[in-house]
């Protein structure tokens, strides 16, 4: 081997030993500094521990569809931090544009500034590329449930075009076990009345589930416009939150008299 070839080979061997934030190998990388944080699992447990009075009223905040508007998400985080009523925050999904690790990490940098626990719902954009794997590596799970002050929350992935979605039997089992709670809320990114994505049978099946399991609120994002259907079923209201890109977030007030929402423009 000539000296020149040895020098070039040495050059690459030295570089391959470098570990630095300044060397990136692909826009599709999945290895994150936040891997293993399991935010959804950890924060749901924190909420359950701190909100254990079954009759106490409480408020949580909702943001959704921030896509790549990280500055706007940061502004909402600052405003939510200034409200001592808020117990926890839901991001209802689509916090990335194309499911890239860079976009996940920019979002987490903002959510980490919250003074209260946050929970994330996977949106259809968040599943793109390697996004589904990145979500599970960082947040732990797409489908989970928890109870806060006598309100049972079931959070699920319903991006049926982009990813496998959970078994409805699992949802029913979880809801069956929590019929004694004062309210039940289902949280998922895509509104379940979407007739492009969900067949008549699926949409009616979801309505039946809401009726049969006494769901008080079906909470969603995705549409980038506000929509409230008070009589989604005889027992269920459906709230579709407007996107944060339009300078809006929500406060949801859970009271003994019912569940109310408040739109907060900024």
């Amino acid at each position: 081997m000539s000296n020149l070839k040895k020098y070039i080979l040495s050059f690459f061997l030295i570089l391959s030993g470098c570990e630095s934030d300044y060397f990136k190998y692909s826009i599709h990388e999945t290895d994150s500094q936040y891997d293993g944080q399991n935010y959804n699992i950890k924060n749901a447990a924190i909420i359950e521990q701190s909100c254990n009075n079954p009759s106490e009223d409480f408020t949580f905040a909702v943001v959704t569809d921030s896509h790549s508007a990280y500055d706007k998400l940061g502004k909402a985080v600052d405003l939510i931090n200034g409200n001592p009523e808020v117990k926890f925050v839901f991001h209802l999904g689509d916090f990335t544009e194309t499911g890239l690790l860079f976009q996940y990490e920019q979002t987490i940098k903002k959510l980490q500034n919250l003074k209260v626990p946050f929970l994330t719902v996977i949106g259809n954009h968040d599943t793109l590329g390697n996004g589904f794997d990145i979500f599970r590596d960082i947040f732990g799970t797409t489908d989970f449930s928890f109870t806060c002050n006598g309100v049972f929350f079931f959070v699920g992935n319903n991006n049926n075009w982009e990813s496998p979605i959970g078994d409805v039997g699992y949802v029913k089992d979880a809801l069956t076990q929590h019929q004694s709670e004062r309210y039940r809320i289902i949280v998922a990114h895509i509104p379940m009345d979407d007739d492009d994505r969900f067949s008549n049978e699926m949409r009616q099946g979801y309505k039946n589930l809401c009726e049969d399991y006494n769901i008080a609120l079906s909470l969603h994002g995705h549409r980038h416009r506000h929509q409230y259907v008070a009589n989604f079923t005889s027992k269920t209201a459906m709230l579709v939150a407007d996107a944060i890109i339009y300078n809006t977030y929500y406060l949801i007030h859970v009271k003994s008299t019912g569940i109310e929402y408040e739109i907060i423009p900024f």
Binding site: F11, H28, D31
Partner: protein
Amino acid sequence: MKKIIITLIISLFFTSLYAEEHLDFKPDFAVAQFAGYIGFISTGVGYESDRKKSTIDFLYGYVPAFAGGMEIHMLTGRITGRAITYHSNYGFSFFPLNLSFFVNYAHGKPYKLRWESKYPKWYYRPTALYSGESIGMSIKKACNEADISAYELYAEVVTMSEFLYEYYKNDSIAFKDIISLAFGARIYF
């Protein structure tokens, strides 16, 4: 899609120009690069214009799981212009301002060039294709080895167009988050 087509046409145009100069399609150089969003290690071949003002490279990039979290295979087409050229004695050439534009294709099931018909038109962009830009410098040395006429070492600061756009839209994104350093070498035949 228009951007992709325009990029391909530009690439083909440059390739055809080089091909006229090099009728046998024999590449002018082999190239290998470390990092810079086109692979942990990427290797390929390329052509240099007759006036030495520009190059075009075609590279295969590989990211092993230990470096990127999962194995990734990529192809990259890149055009580089050398804005400034200094020639010195002893066969050295110094290019202090090289500007590149590249298109990167990731191969594999998670990355889509086209979306299935169930998706409305332009519901999503093609996630297999991203473009990027770089700015860098290089030094080239002529030599007299049997099969090698010159070699070149280069360093670049690389970003992706998607990141640049998001950086422009958001004041809070740190510049270091949207860049990668890259180092590479070209061996001229």
